[in-house]
Symmetry: C3
Subunit: 201 residues, 3 copies
Amino acid sequence: MFYTLDILGTMAFAISGTLTAINKRFDPFGVFIISFVTAVGGGTLRDVLIGRTPVSWMQDLNYVYAIIGATIFTILIRKRIDYLSTSLFLFDTIGLGIFTIIGTEIGIQQNLHPIISVALGVISATFGGVIRDILCNEIPIIFHKEIYASACIVGAITFLVLSNYNITININYVITSLIVITIRLIAVKFKLSLPTFIENK
Amino acid sequence: MFYTLDILGTMAFAISGTLTAINKRFDPFGVFIISFVTAVGGGTLRDVLIGRTPVSWMQDLNYVYAIIGATIFTILIRKRIDYLSTSLFLFDTIGLGIFTIIGTEIGIQQNLHPIISVALGVISATFGGVIRDILCNEIPIIFHKEIYASACIVGAITFLVLSNYNITININYVITSLIVITIRLIAVKFKLSLPTFIENK
Amino acid sequence: MFYTLDILGTMAFAISGTLTAINKRFDPFGVFIISFVTAVGGGTLRDVLIGRTPVSWMQDLNYVYAIIGATIFTILIRKRIDYLSTSLFLFDTIGLGIFTIIGTEIGIQQNLHPIISVALGVISATFGGVIRDILCNEIPIIFHKEIYASACIVGAITFLVLSNYNITININYVITSLIVITIRLIAVKFKLSLPTFIENK
């Protein structure tokens, strides 16, 4: 089930990348690259930083197929994507939760310090979007809008804390994912975002 | 001969980087960095992704000398570069063909899946230009203009297919390079580019 | 003493990143990421390029604490930061000198060619700022303003040359740092910058 959710999260990130690139009028190659980078960018950066190479997507083609499928699907139904935006948001949020857990767990496995493991969880979940925005010449959205990364940080810390108790890993997965997803849902529902340090005039 | 072409391709990419940076009014250090990054960026990203470190240009100084030479040469003749634009375009296209083959071949050597090997070929050939454009704060040109990456993809697939037949590697090199170069020449000659998914109004 | 200066340099870079991000109206998460990336970006890129993973800051938490401390401190005193700009500039310049030496020395230790070692020194010292500027969607400042990277290059070469003489490493550290710092101080004092290749009209 976890693997299935991981693939679903990857596809959701690919869909969000595809939509961004279409709006930027990229050609099909550009659309595919942005889709791919959004989906695997965070995990790739994580793998490169800890020396886990060749990076993950090179060793499990299912991710590549999932991304290609999601990209073609999105291109075909692009005019009706509005009707799907709720499911898209849901998958994206699920992806966020799953990717946070995967990154944090890899940090633990590699015997890295808990703080570093949390950082790896956040990098896995958010840097795909950061690289997408940089390639599209935008300021990364997560630096100035919405509770997004904060949800990952809370989730990663919860995951770490629960790992130290006598809880089966699957229950830990479920609890942590639900926390990330809930925070994000509440934040979007009530349009919450973190304050900045410059007063608006 | 292959090594010579590789160096020529590197120099062509360095020249194109130098010209871009001069136009952006970068200082000499900035010009050199952009030149360097354009020339080695694709291969460096490929090496980092598969864990082939220290990355190639750190282990063969000839690339570094070639880039320094090409950069100084371009700075000196910058006012007459228009007369050279045909040769520049030719070298750049040769570089594209060569870099595609090198990346794809490294993927095969590392026992990576053919799809991943094609991806490595395309990354080697195109990401130098992508990083150049990002450092210059532009949307990467290959995402929205001209048949460029598509030529690499066709070339990389041809190379892979021919590798499975009883063809000597040198003939494979020549055929594949010629295919990449021909597609690119035709595309530029007839101003072909891939369509985007948003209708122009 | 060297380690202390290294930490001070890291904090100075973190402060400069924090100030940049606050001015861009990033939220607290964005501010922290930019602070972190500015402080460790150069060393991280160096480590990834030579395959020294997990990258340094994952293995010495003191850097992480120093960055967190510097970021919070800067946020708290942000309205009075002008009074501190001289000390900030001094720390930043010290960081520049130290990071150049550390990068160059790592290159020597890994038996890389002197030219590559100089490149590693410059990458360590300057690419944190480059990545900061890219994430903030600006053209990297070091490509078009002030003698900055040039000071690193001179420092790295001096360090290499002195390493071949019968000089204790600590004296070499001091001399090299002082050279980088002096060049930078003179450049800023007299507003020196390298010329570009396009005539201003």
